[in-house]
Symmetry: C2
Amino acid sequence: MQPEMNLRILPRTVQQETVDKLRLAIFSGVFEPGSRLIESQLCVQLGISRPSLREALRSLAAERLIDLVPNRGPSIPALTWEDMTAIYEARELLEVEAVGRCSLRIPKEQLSELEKALSAFAEAASSNNSLARVTTAADFYSIILANCGNPILEEIHRGLVARISFFRARSMSLEGRAQQSFAEMQEIYQAIAAGDQKAARKASRKHILKAMAAAKESMESAN
Amino acid sequence: MQPEMNLRILPRTVQQETVDKLRLAIFSGVFEPGSRLIESQLCVQLGISRPSLREALRSLAAERLIDLVPNRGPSIPALTWEDMTAIYEARELLEVEAVGRCSLRIPKEQLSELEKALSAFAEAASSNNSLARVTTAADFYSIILANCGNPILEEIHRGLVARISFFRARSMSLEGRAQQSFAEMQEIYQAIAAGDQKAARKASRKHILKAMAAAKESMESAN
DNA sequence: TCAACAGGATTGTCTGACATTCTATCAATC
DNA sequence: GATTGATAGAATGTCAGACAATCCTGTTGA
């Protein structure tokens, strides 16, 4: 067994569960962007006390998944297009780098995992389940980021993707976007499988630019 | 007045003050890496209640400035050299990009601010105040990041630098490192002032690699 | 020497309380 | 009619105190 393996079993605490539940709720679009949350209501809905809820809210606020203005309480961020652009640009920077690194070092069995994830996304893309599309796509990236050799890149990337999940779900619902997305991801996969760093980076950059364009389109059509 | 200017006056809440105080304490090396903190003690020292403290700790944990293991309480992360390398690599990616962007778009008055920050660092570098060195260096970067045109890059960079502040302070105390650091920063400044993106990126990359080497050296000499 | 076992210390969580701050409504004024 | 002012209700910020669950440490026993 690898010596650096962490065997500690983490007890699930109430506020950890709360963070996860709220995070998932935000991803799923349960809360309208810009809408305000009310502590007392959330306490009742989640069946927990206010101190526990408030601790969970602090975590989410630090992740930027909610806004927390003193004396006004928590609310769901309403991202502007400028915010979104900045996030997509940062994501591009990290993801292209990660894909490039990944293409040089991914082990075989992880590559087959990546292929499986790609197939899963293909299936979700043909379905009508937009949450499944986003989660399977996230799985695909998560394998890439986990094999880029830098856990910090992975961590930051996860945080960024989380912040735009709401809009990713919406743009994935655009006519034909999921299929196109699949084609782009396939291209990335093939470049990684071939160990061709340059092609991998190029495909990755192209994919993100398209995704950003799709997000912009879905955002404008929503208003 | 710019329409997007945010005029809201943010009341300073107890736990915000607490987060700031603890953050500063961590930066200053008040706590030994790996050491454990005890809630009840912190409450007394900070003069606040346990719920408020715990909320502040959640924020810091989400920023990765402390570790928070269930049933064991908060502790200061003891970064390994691998952790540090990963952080420095991510920092390089972001900082080089930011410097490059900044060189193309920084307005004149911000450039003079940058020059001032550089002078301030020069002064600190000749002094014996290692905290001043780190903070003036941080001011220098913060101006660059604020003018790179992407607030997300700025935000992520700030988080990364915060996590390695302890070791930056130590490596800045290495014989001659501060002076060398100043020379490298001057090079970055000149490339930005000249609007030479390529040179700016190159200087930035060089600076970080040197900083990483210095950090490694100081880390090894400490053990 | 090592394992089981207390006991104290520490954290996780809750309840309840109160002061402060926000917000929405409505009256009063220009 | 629009703006200002005042007021009541709601929501948040903060605290104190309590108790169970868990961790840690030193001691006992084999």
